[in-house]
């Protein structure tokens, strides 16, 4: 049995330790908010937090998460209360198809936790691993800046 903490709950997994975390989350734990996009860490759709750090769960074996704490998109809101970035996503009407947005939000949360006041360039730099084919980048940038600015105030 492999033990990891997911969204605050300790879970036991009977899986191949080399299996990417993505499939453990989606298929063993039913947390389908984390998405498959490329399978090789190129698109960011599968981004989750591993002990607070953003990782591409499609390229992170379950063994790398042993004893660690994983946060997925489902663990971001506190019940009814959305995370400020999720709120900012709604304010800016960011999603189109929505498929990449879990990964985008998880990356953005990690960015603001590391750098509460990122510049435009820092946002672009940090977020460049997350692809959106619908083209929601300008709105994502706005949403991130909205939260950063409100923190400043």
């Amino acid at each position: 049995m492999l033990r990891i903490t997911v969204n605050g709950k300790l879970v036991e997994l009977d899986v191949d330790p080399e299996m990417p975390l993505l499939y453990a989350l989606r298929e063993n734990l039913g947390l389908t908010g984390t998405k498959f996009g490329c399978g090789v860490g190129l698109c960011g759709a599968c981004t989750v937090h591993l002990d607070g750090e953003p990782v591409r769960s499609c390229a992170t074996p379950v063994s790398a998460a042993l004893g660690s704490s994983v946060t997925t998109i489902e663990g971001l809101a506190k019940g009814e209360a959305l995370h400020p970035l999720q709120e900012a996503w709604l304010d800016n009407k960011v999603p189109q198809c929505g498929y990449c947005q879990s990964g985008q939000i998880m990356s953005a949360v990690a960015l603001l936790e590391e750098n509460a006041q990122p510049s435009d360039e820092q946002i672009e730099d940090w977020m460049q691993g997350n692809i959106c084919r619908c083209g929601t980048y300008p709105r994502i940038k706005k949403a991130i800046k909205q939260v950063a600015t409100s923190k400043k105030g």
């Binding site: 984390t34 090789v40 189109q96 672009e124």
Partner: protein, 752 residues
């Protein structure tokens, strides 16, 4: 089943029925049928979009068009709710499954509102009028003496109000008014149309709660990964699954049925690994040893094919449209511009790769998928199972979920049919998942294309002699291998429908052999035609020494409506739209061109190494102009800003029009960097590293200008794309003096 159970029609009826006193309406394409709660409203066989109201006044509207990110699940219900006078806060939307009773569900061609606006409004008006009638009956007054006002019916004489919920069960017993007796709102009465209402399902998306085809989970299902022949028309010669079967979790390995050409939207054969987990299926697929019989398309190489296209497009062709006589004219080399442009194959690359689930309950096949064409899919599943498409249609329950992007790719149900084939073969629920490599290498590609122009400038900086040709593999080949040239419909997309006032004009095409599946890609043939024309007009302007805007305005000529069937283009199709208010209108064209230039400052002075490019395209009954500013030094290109101006007629949801334009600019600019190439019949790209799409650091500032219009709604999902790429390429010329005619830009330049 999981959280998506509420999408199921039976569950929908059950759910709404629970509250009691419920009003349910269903509509067919031509006839309206109402049903009281006691009756199962689906049984008439005529029922389409459902509008229901429960006794609490909760309105539920089924979104019958497929949602792929364009926002139709907000916009269509928004129109219905407006006609109903429903309070948007009390409207809930569910996705309709595929079934003819919903009317046309084929979601492509930017058609949902463009072609069905009035029909959609009628749905809302029927519901409103029945509620009004119920209220009039209650007060024993005439229908004219009541009026729907924000989720209630008002007695105009006394001012008394009855809520929708209070009227629901009475309204449900009334006869459905005929279309002739409906009163539709006038434009000044719209309460929701044109307003930025709250978008449907956004909160579920940011919570990670929405369900896509990849997320479907059916108890006991197997997950399948399929190794497909690398060449279209290829097949399995032999295979060895012994290593694959050693992977823990792999349950079975099956050879898929061989499928002869035409490709149609059928699966492409191969070997399927079925497993208990995605990971086991993916690993098992890697362990397969397959010997392929590649077939004759293995001789296809896109590099030599491109040269074939260039050669053909430079030789006399088959005339699609002709006016006057351009061929006996001797062009004055001093005033003539001649150019050939090419755009490579492209791929849709939706973020969600194809996936579908199928299983059987008795003799009923249940499908869960995300497709742009649910009814076509339902019919194809019937064919696959040897069922009668009419008689047995209800033996295929075709459930729809959200699509994680589509862009035309998911108009083809090959992946859905794979799931059905495997569910039938195994007798178990099967979910087929495509890896990104599968997606890139087994797509329905946007045609590689070559466009040629030769035009002579006259003393007024206009042209009287214009010759143009296009050569590309046609979509038609995918469905019929005898198709060897673009169809009239293809040629109506930015080629032979060129809206210029030119006395001597010839538009020609040529035959060609096709070797890969060609499909619809956002804006379809407009992509390469508008790219080539947009660049050529810029080249003419440079030759004439005038601003590109002026060149466009000269060529477009006087304000007029154009009927191309009277201008030498037999078989012209205005995107299936016969309404005269959708006539090709040069005044609207000139207006978007002028607007984009004025708003962007594209004719202002720029710094050294900087330049503006503009381009224009009309498609799907909308008009879009783009202006792009770039800085170029040492073949390094920085795109600084892109502007678009769109006239798409009446706007329903302004924010979603803006979002589509933003997306179109990003995808359009992405075309400058991407290409699908083919060696020995096989696609050479495999994932985001070698088929790059635009990322953050290459996304410039974007500006959208939606022009007010008194015309009916045009298309929105696609028309933004075509003018973007030529505006970028023209900007590079004006910044650097380097004229690029063969895409992608990244062959010679690097975006920074």
């Amino acid at each position: 089943m999981l959280a998506f159970e509420h999408l199921d029609r039976r569950a929908f009826l059950k759910k709404t029925g629970l509250v009691g006193g419920v009003f349910i309406l269903g509509f067919g394409e031509a006839t309206f049928t109402g049903a009281s709660p006691g009756l199962k409203s689906g049984e008439s066989g005529q029922l389409g979009v459902f509008v229901s109201i429960d006794s609490q006044g909760q309105v539920t509207i089924a979104s019958h068009r497929a949602e792929m990110g364009q926002g139709i699940m907000t916009s269509t219900p928004q129109i219905i709710a407006d006609e109903m006078e429903a309070d948007w806060q009390r409207v809930e939307v569910v996705l309709a499954p595929g079934h003819p009773r919903y009317g046309n569900q084929s979601t492509g061609g930017s058609a949902s509102i463009r072609r069905y606006f009035t029909y959609i409004r009628q749905m809302g008006a029927v519901a409103r009028q029945m509620l009004e009638q119920a209220a009039a009956n209650h007060w024993k007054i005439k229908l004219e003496d009541v009026q729907a006002v924000k989720h209630a019916i008002k007695n105009k004489k006394t001012g008394a109000m009855l809520g929708f919920g209070e009227l629901a069960s009475a309204a449900a017993t009334l006869e459905v008014p005929s279309v002739e007796n409906l009163r539709l709102k006038t434009e000044d009465e719209y309460s929701l149309i044109g307003k930025d209402v709250k978008l449907m399902w956004q909160e579920q998306i940011v919570r990670g709660e929405t369900v896509y085809a990849q997320d479907i989970n059916v108890p006991g299902m197997l997950i399948a990964c399929i190794a497909r022949p690398p060449v279209v028309g290829g097949r399995v010669k032999s295979f060895d699954a012994s290593e694959a079967k050693k992977i823990k979790g792999v349950v079975d390995v099956l050879r898929m049925k061989d499928r002869p050409l035409p490709a149609d939207v059928n699966p492409v054969s191969g070997v399927a690994v079925l497993a208990n987990t995605s990971w086991a299926a993916l690993q098992g697929k890697k362990k397969l040893k397959i010997e392929w019989e590649l077939g004759e398309n293995a001789r296809h190489n896109s590099e030599s094919y491109k040269q074939e296209l260039i050669d053909k497009v430079n030789a006399p062709g088959i005339v699609a449209r002709q006016e006057g006589d351009v061929h006996s004219h001797s062009f004055d080399p001093e005033n003539t511009v001649e150019a050939t442009y090419t755009l490579p194959y492209q791929h849709h690359m939706p973020m969600e790769t194809p996936a579908a689930t199928a299983y059987f309950e008795g003799d009923k096949c249940i499908v869960w998928t995300g497709t742009q064409t649910p009814q076509w899919g339902q019919r194809k599943v019937c064919q696959e199972l040897g069922l009668d498409e009419k008689k047995d249609l209800d033996k295929v329950e075709f459930n729809q979920v959200l699509m994680g992007g589509a862009f035309g790719r998911k108009g083809k149900n090959d992946y859905t049919l794979e799931a059905v084939e495997l569910a039938k073969a195994t007798g178990k629920p099967v979910k087929v998942i495509w890896s990104r490599e599968d997606d890139v290498q087994h797509g329905f590609y946007h045609s590689i294309a070559a466009n040629y122009f030769k035009a002579e400038l006259n003393k007024d900086n206009n042209s009287d002699f214009w010759l143009q040709r296009v050569v590309h593999p046609p979509i038609g080949w995918t469905f019929d291998t005898s198709k060897d040239r673009p169809s009239r419909g293809n040629l109506s997309q930015g080629f032979a429908d060129i809206p210029f006032d030119i006395e001597n004009l010839s538009c020609e095409t040529q035959t060609l052999t096709t070797h890969v599946r060609i499909g619809w890609f956002r804006a379809v043939q407009n992509v390469h035609n508008a790219y080539a024309l947009g660049c050529f007009v810029d080249e003419l302007a440079v030759k004439a020494g005038i601003p590109t805007r002026e060149m466009w305005l000269n060529l477009l000529g006087s304000d007029r409506h154009i009927d191309l069937t009277k201008e030498g283009f037999e078989g012209w199709r205005n995107y299936g739209q016969e309404d005269p208010r959708h006539a090709l209108d040069t005044a609207r064209m000139k207006h978007v061109i002028n607007s984009v230039v004025e708003k962007s400052g594209a004719e202002d002075k720029v710094d050294k190494n900087e330049g503006w490019g503009i381009a224009f395209a009309t498609s799907f009954n909308s008009y879009v102009a783009a202006a792009t500013k770039v800085r170029v030094s040492d073949n390094l290109v920085k795109v600084l800003e892109i502007h678009t101006a769109i006239d798409c007629g009446l706007v329903i949801t302004p924010d979603r029009v803006k979002a589509q334009m933003e997306g179109a600019m990003i995808m359009g600019l992405g075309l400058a960097s991407s290409e699908i190439t083919i060696a020995d019949g096989a696609i050479e790209q495999s994932n985001f590293h070698d088929y790059p799409v635009l990322r953050y650091q290459h996304c410039p500032e974007l500006f959208v200008n939606i022009l007010p219009s008194d015309k009916p709604p045009g298309g929105v999902g696609e028309p933004g794309m075509p003018p973007v790429l030529p505006s970028v390429v023209n900007a590079i010329y004006h910044a650097s003096g380097v004229r690029l005619r063969h895409m992608p830009v990244t062959k010679t330049h690097t975006f920074i």
